[in-house]
């Protein structure tokens, strides 16, 4: 039972995930950076908007601007930190590439999802709006987070060996995220007051699902070439 390949694969993946989770909970680097970024940028948004009532389209756009930049700031850490600590060789020797990728992807998804939930509550409070279609909002957040984490994980593995890696990531990430952002902003707008609701947004959710699928299957194909010299 414990020697079946699927079981072994899952054990390797969860080992990488738990290692990253323990490290993160110990020094809270990414979490602190993300929280500071989210709070300060949300406050800037709130102050600049003031008492003005902004259209739901703008609210959705502001929400995803904050989320996109916090993702490009925090999620790139996963592979860059391995490079900085010099633990890349250790990982390469111990665990096959696909399990490392899956573990890192899972960790990044969990991280960005928790950040997204915080951003959502902070911004809905500060912009004085409310969510009318919860199922749509939850589906959008979930699929959007998976797509965002999928795109960032592979790119951060590519970028990790470059000299100015943390500056390079946002530049490479934004063009890739374009289709995701287009759909995610529309879907978020539809879940706010006067929005069109879940039934009119199925197209956007399918786009988000397909984007996540494309990014993750491309990453699985390409990761071995990025990871092994």
């Amino acid at each position: 039972m414990s020697t079946s390949p699927a079981h072994k694969w899952l054990r390797g993946m969860s080992a990488v995930f738990m290692k990253d989770l323990h490290l993160e909970l110990r020094n809270r680097y990414a979490l602190n950076v993300l929280l500071m970024f989210v709070l300060s940028s949300s406050l800037v948004v709130a102050f600049s908007v003031g008492a003005e009532s902004v259209s739901t389209r703008t609210q959705a756009a502001l929400l995803w601007i904050v989320i996109t930049f916090s993702a490009s700031l925090g999620l790139g850490r996963t592979f860059i930190a391995e490079e900085e600590r010099g633990t890349v060789l250790l990982l390469q020797l111990n665990i096959p590439g696909s399990q490392i990728f899956a573990g890192k992807l899972l960790f990044n998804t969990a991280l960005i999802l928790s950040v997204n939930i915080i951003v959502l509550f902070v911004l809905t409070f500060l912009l004085n709006t409310r969510i009318t279609d919860w199922p749509l909002m939850i589906a959008t957040m979930l699929l959007g987070s998976i797509g965002l984490a999928g795109a960032t994980t592979l790119l951060s593995a590519i970028v990790a060996r470059a000299a100015s890696s943390s500056a390079l990531l946002p530049v490479l990430l934004l063009p890739l995220l374009f289709p995701l952002l287009l759909s995610v902003v529309h879907a978020t707008q539809n879940s706010l007051p006067d929005g069109l609701g879940l039934n009119a947004s199925i197209d956007h959710l399918v786009t988000l699902f397909a984007f996540a699928g494309v990014v993750i299957s491309a990453s699985v194909l390409l990761f071995d070439y990025v990871w092994n010299d």
């Binding site: 289709p179 069109l196 399918v206 786009t207 397909a210 984007f211 699928g213 494309v214 194909l221």
Partner: protein, 133 residues
């Protein structure tokens, strides 16, 4: 290694074709109000402004609403979350781009087809017809 590559490529093709097909349907084709309500998705509707029914612009909510009749004769209220487009009254034809929501059509963009200012059709009547002679 080999089966993993094949499965990966198959998945990649499947997901990207889903993405492309879906992106195409979001652009929205030309249809009338009834077709748009049946499909529930984004649509372009061609029609005329119904001048004798109510229209108004609410400055506090920034909503311009009017009634439009499409080419099949269906009349719907159209809501546009912006001020009234300039030279809306001169329009020969309107194209609204948006989503149906119940009996109301929510327009994201309105294309106003106006008669050209730069042509005077009378001038062309004096030109001798060179094809006959």
């Amino acid at each position: 290694m080999r089966p993993k590559t094949i499965i990966g490529i198959v998945l990649l093709v499947a997901f990207s074709s889903l993405l492309l097909m879906n992106f195409g349907s979001q652009v929205g084709g030309y249809m009338n109000f009834v077709q748009a309500e049946e499909s529930g998705s984004r649509a372009h509707v061609i029609g005329d402004w119904v001048r004798d029914q109510s229209f108004k612009y609410d400055a506090t909510t920034n909503i311009f609403s009017f009634h439009m009749v499409d080419e099949m004769g269906n009349v719907r209220q159209v809501r546009y979350m912006n001020p009234k487009p300039p030279n809306f009254e001169d329009a020969e034809r309107l194209v609204v781009d948006g989503y149906p929501k119940g009996e109301i059509f929510i327009a994201e963009h309105i294309l106003v087809k106006c008669p050209s200012k730069y042509e005077n059709p009378d001038e062309f009547n004096d030109v001798p017809d060179l094809t006959k002679s």
